[in-house]
Subunit: 132 residues, 2 copies
DNA sequence: ATCGCACACGTTATAGCATAACGCAATTGA
DNA sequence: TCAATTGCGTTATGCTATAACGTGTGCGAT
């Protein structure tokens, strides 16, 4: 499963996210793309929907923001769960995968006969630099 | 650490959440409390802030909603991580705690010298009844 | 007792996040 | 060629959350 060629808008949004230091909100992305002709939120959200679908971008539910996947080449959907540590001081995000956590959660869900579709694991706190 | 006596507004919001079948948005709560004199979102949000602080209510980040804690008596802050399975068909939420997952995540965070403060683990999908 | 402080509350206004609904253009494949 | 699909642009709207102001009440310290 490989990522399709991106359209113009998808490419612009993906570039902005890739260059960013940390996660960006949809409206921040919009502002950064006004010079490229973006005028409305939907232009951003539609591109984001596709990028999320392709697995090259992640949505951080707890801060209503989006971040480029840390492993752009391999498709992120093929890993198991994705987890994020989000620094509330500097905004940086560390993405990580842990099969142990993955299996444990999946086993539990299985025991409940719950069919998992999307998952969100986000830890907010302070990174090594900011913990002071 | 015991839960303080709730104020009138906090009590009303907590009651609504306790009686609800599933999670409710702040504005849904507001609507349910109009007859008791609620007029503005802040009345709900302020009560929710306290209830979250007391650990008797959880916030579901991925659906912008709130749910009463499944174990009202024991303080939920004292458990480790809390995880939720959210059914996208019927809206029901299953709350669970798993020390294995907890430890595993905490170990990883520790290895990164990341100081965790708040966590979100939410799995969306379909529950046993709705999976059909 | 009264002053000062902390806290809950009420209200209005505004900010921030996300989608509905319309129509047009380009592409593809039967 | 026609129909279906997909992306795009625009306007309008809805949902989620907080800022900023002022009021009232309880309570401890002086």
């Amino acid at each position: 499963m490989t990522t399709p060629v991106l359209t113009k808008n998808q490419g612009l949004v993906f570039d902005v996210l890739t260059r960013a230091e940390g996660p960006l909100s949809a409206y921040t992305i919009l502002d950064k793309l006004r010079d490229q002709g973006f005028r409305a939120p939907l232009q951003v959200y539609r591109a984001l929907d596709k990028l999320l679908e392709y697995g090259v971008v992640h949505r951080l539910e707890s801060i209503n923001s989006f971040v480029a996947c840390a492993h752009p080449h391999e498709n992120c959907h093929s890993h198991g769960l994705v987890a994020f540590a989000i620094c509330e001081s500097c905004g940086q995000v560390i993405e990580f995968h842990d099969h142990e956590v993955d299996h444990r959660l999946m086993d539990w869900l299985k025991s409940q006969k719950f069919k998992a579709e999307k998952s969100t694991i986000e830890i907010r706190g302070h990174c090594a630099n900011c913990a002071a």
